[in-house]
């Protein structure tokens, strides 16, 4: 009896809802939708039938911000009602563990998938280049120039993300600080941070002026530029993570906690969470923070300012930036699915509204340069704060994840395990360089306008 019951339950559950590739849904018969052509250099004319108007379903893999991507999919589905886009949310932790295997499944796997460029080497074998003229592409999206491979573009960026200092406006006021106190140098920064730090009667920290726990490695990678050193060697194949610049960067960061006590390694083990709970007055985090704050903590009043520098004069570079990668198209998908994918991506690149929304929600500087001047974006925190100096931020290239992973270990070894910074960094460099040698990564630092060796 039980066996029969369970068998019937399995049958029900087994006939899963995975519709990728199946043909159910509405048929589109209206080629002329009476809609205007959109875009500048890259144009998209919506007045055509996709897949001959036959119903088709494709899967789109994302690791976060499902609603944001859903709205883009909806906009496309409105134009082409025969297409159904299924968004599948796989959390970041295991996204790149599962994605490559799903891509192998071909038609049953995702047609579109979000990419992070630190995993480029895992995914390159599976990406189909965009069916868009490269020159047109670069004209609209200058940053795409660094993504050209054999004359084609496999994926590009839709926005640039970098870090800014976020500060809690309420706590600033409490400490008697105003807009004029916004620091430019690290020295000034330390003074401000000290004013914002609080201890109780037993000397235990109850509020951090500045917190970087869980972010140490992300800040250190890039801070080296302020001390005049590149992250990679001249040929771009070997890291300089144990170089003078990085050592100075690491030393600055550790001093903040250990010498100036504006934060503590044991206080607020996750700086972002700590900021949300108003237990840390300032944090240095990347673009997406804006969205998190808006969604989860809309009552928190915050401001932003640019990363401080050692001196008042312009440094070699302020910091690094990274591109938010555009979705890739699965090389192994069926021809029909790929047609839809290509059409969708052209729509994606040509549609300004979508690009503006992505940059606004993601706290990014739009990759489509023209949009930096747009009404909606010119006053966003990142465009306002970093925009003026964006030419002084370096893109190191699609750094493989080994750099972040090993810098994280080095950072923890230095802060928590009392390892000597020189030794920890040397260790990290050793492992990183072995891993780099196994990929064909070459740094893009030499594309920097003010590049020096």
């Amino acid at each position: 009896m039980i066996v029969i019951l369970t068998c019937s339950l399995t049958a029900c559950a087994g006939s899963g809802d995975n519709n990728a590739g199946k043909e159910t849904g509405t048929k589109d018969t209206e080629a002329d939708k009476g809609l205007p052509v959109m875009g500048d250099q890259i144009t998209y004319d919506p007045n055509h039938l996709v897949n001959d108007g036959n119903p088709i379903t494709i899967d789109w893999w994302v690791w976060a911000s499902e609603e944001m991507f859903r709205s883009i999919a909806d906009a496309y589905e409105e134009i082409h009602p025969n297409v159904a886009i299924n968004i599948i949310n796989n959390p970041w932790d295991g996204y790149f563990t599962k994605l490559p295997l799903s891509l192998q499944k071909g038609e049953e796997g995702p047609t579109l998938f979000n990419i992070h460029n630190s995993y480029e080497n895992l995914l390159m074998n599976y990406i189909e280049p965009y069916d868009i003229d490269t020159k047109e592409f670069i004209a609209d999206y200058p940053s795409a120039a660094s993504h050209v491979k054999d004359g084609k573009i496999y994926y590009a960026d839709y926005g640039m993300s970098t870090g800014m200092v976020y500060y809690n406006k309420k706590l600033w006021k409490e400490a008697g600080l105003t807009e004029e106190d916004i620091p430019v140098t690290w020295e000034e920064f330390i003074e401000i941070a000290k004013k914002l730090t609080k201890f109780d009667e037993d000397g235990k920290m109850t509020r951090a002026g500045f917190n970087y726990n869980n972010y140490f490695h992300a800040i250190a990678l890039g801070l080296n530029y302020q001390f005049g050193e590149n992250m990679f060697s001249e040929d771009g194949r070997v890291s300089q993570v144990d170089g003078v610049g990085m050592k100075k960067a690491v030393s600055l960061l550790t001093d903040l906690f250990e010498k100036y006590h504006v934060g503590d390694k044991d206080f607020g083990t996750d700086c972002e969470q700590s900021f949300y709970q108003e237990q840390s007055a300032m944090v240095f985090v990347w673009g997406f923070f804006v969205n998190n704050l808006k969604t989860n903590y809309p009552d928190l009043e915050y401001g932003t300012f640019e990363i401080p520098t050692p001196e008042h004069d312009t440094p070699y570079a302020y910091y690094r930036y990274n591109g938010e990668a555009t979705p890739g198209i699965n090389k192994n998908a069926s021809a029909a699915q790929k047609e839809v994918g290509q059409d969708f991506m052209r729509f994606f690149f040509a549609n300004d509204e979508i690009q503006i929304m992505l940059s606004r929600e993601g706290g990014l500087i739009p990759a489509k340069e023209a949009l930096m001047e747009s009404e909606e974006l010119k006053d966003t925190p990142i465009v306002r704060t970093v925009g003026p100096h964006i030419d002084r931020y370096i893109w190191p290239g699609a750094m493989p994840s080994t750099l972040e992973n090993n810098m994280k270990i080095a950072g923890e070894d230095i802060l928590y395990n009392g390892k000597a910074p020189d030794k920890a960094l040397k260790n990290a460099a050793g492992i990183i360089d072995v891993d780099l040698a196994n990929t064909d990564f070459t740094a893009s630092e030499n594309l920097y306008q003010y590049y020096e060796k």
């Binding site: 039980i2 066996v3 369970t6 339950l9 399995t10 559950a13 087994g14 899963g16 809802d17 995975n18 690791w63 976060a64 599948i88 949310n89 796989n90 959390p91 970041w92 932790d93 295991g94 563990t97 599962k98 295997l101 799903s102 192998q104 499944k105 049953e108 109850t206 972002e272 969470q273 949300y276 709970q277 237990q279 997406f288 998190n292 989860n296």
Partner: protein, 273 residues
């Protein structure tokens, strides 16, 4: 007098142990009624200051919790039923029959218990991917149909069944399948309870394999679903607590009901060496 002192000491020790065991649960359940802000504040109180049902109410809307729960129950029950059956029948053959190679087979079965998951997971992964069984429940059921642990327990249990009973049935003209299904199997209630609980628990909390094999959200299992609360940018502690609180309930209920049989079954199976 000495008796009384001893009695009270024992009771106190047990109570202390009980408190330590239960405290995290109590804290977790109480916290599931707190907002995330309260859970993470520097000032903590055990009882929620601003109790809320939101964590429970949002469970279904945010994470399709019931679906994961149902999926896990389905797979756990299915696998448990299969393993109980295979363990019993293998235990019967290995325990009651005498034939060449019996000890060899049993020995190999025992040795396979020692093989760590980290050894078999890579090849199994490759096998199932190549066979196209990714994202199918078959991938969760096929590799675990036989359990060395179960076979071992049932073989021991079988020792407790008098051979005379079986011989008598044979003399009466019953064939082996009838003997097993109608006579022996019903006698194993205790052993079955023991294996059932261990196996159910094991499937219920298995994480890595379902995580690797299952892609579609609507097929995902609970243990994996719980990790969804740990997003890239923030962890929803309240939701996690609520989900965990609910997910322990069925197993505790099953355990309470079958407790006595379970312990007797373990006694007959694992304990006699």
């Amino acid at each position: 007098m000495k008796q009384k002192v001893l009695k009270t000491t024992l009771f106190i020790v047990l109570c202390l142990a009980g408190v330590v065991t239960v405290l995290p649960f109590v804290w977790m359940v109480l916290s599931s009624f707190k907002t995330n802000g309260e859970i993470e504040s520097l000032e903590q109180s055990l009882i929620p200051l601003a109790p809320t049902l939101d964590n429970y109410l949002n469970l279904q809307s945010n994470f399709d919790f019931l679906r994961y729960f149902a999926n896990s129950i389905l797979i756990a029950v299915l696998v448990t039923v299969i393993v109980v059956y295979t363990s019993c029948i293998c235990g019967y053959v290995l325990g009651k029959y005498q034939f060449k190679g019996k000890n060899l087979i049993f020995g190999i079965v025992m040795m396979t218990m020692m093989v760590p998951w980290s050894v078999t997971i890579i090849p199994r992964y490759t096998m199932f991917v190549k066979a196209g069984l990714l994202d199918s429940y078959l991938s969760l059921i096929l590799p675990v149909m036989f359990s060395g642990f179960g076979i071992f327990m049932m073989k021991q249990n079988m020792e407790g069944i008098p051979d005379e009973l079986i011989e008598a049935a044979r003399l009466d003209g019953a064939n082996e399948f009838q003997i097993f299904h109608q006579l022996v199997f019903p006698l194993c209630k205790n052993g079955i309870s023991a294996i059932a609980i261990f196996q159910f628990l094991w499937v219920w909390e298995d994480y890595l394999w379902p995580y690797l094999m299952m892609d579609s959200e609507n097929k995902q299992l609970l243990a994996v679903g719980l990790t969804l609360f740990n997003g890239r940018y923030s962890t929803d502690y309240g939701g996690l607590f609520a989900a965990t609180a609910i997910s322990i309930l069925p197993v505790i209920i099953v355990y309470v009901i079958f407790q006595k049989r379970f312990i007797a079954g373990v006694a007959a199976g694992a304990v006699k060496g």
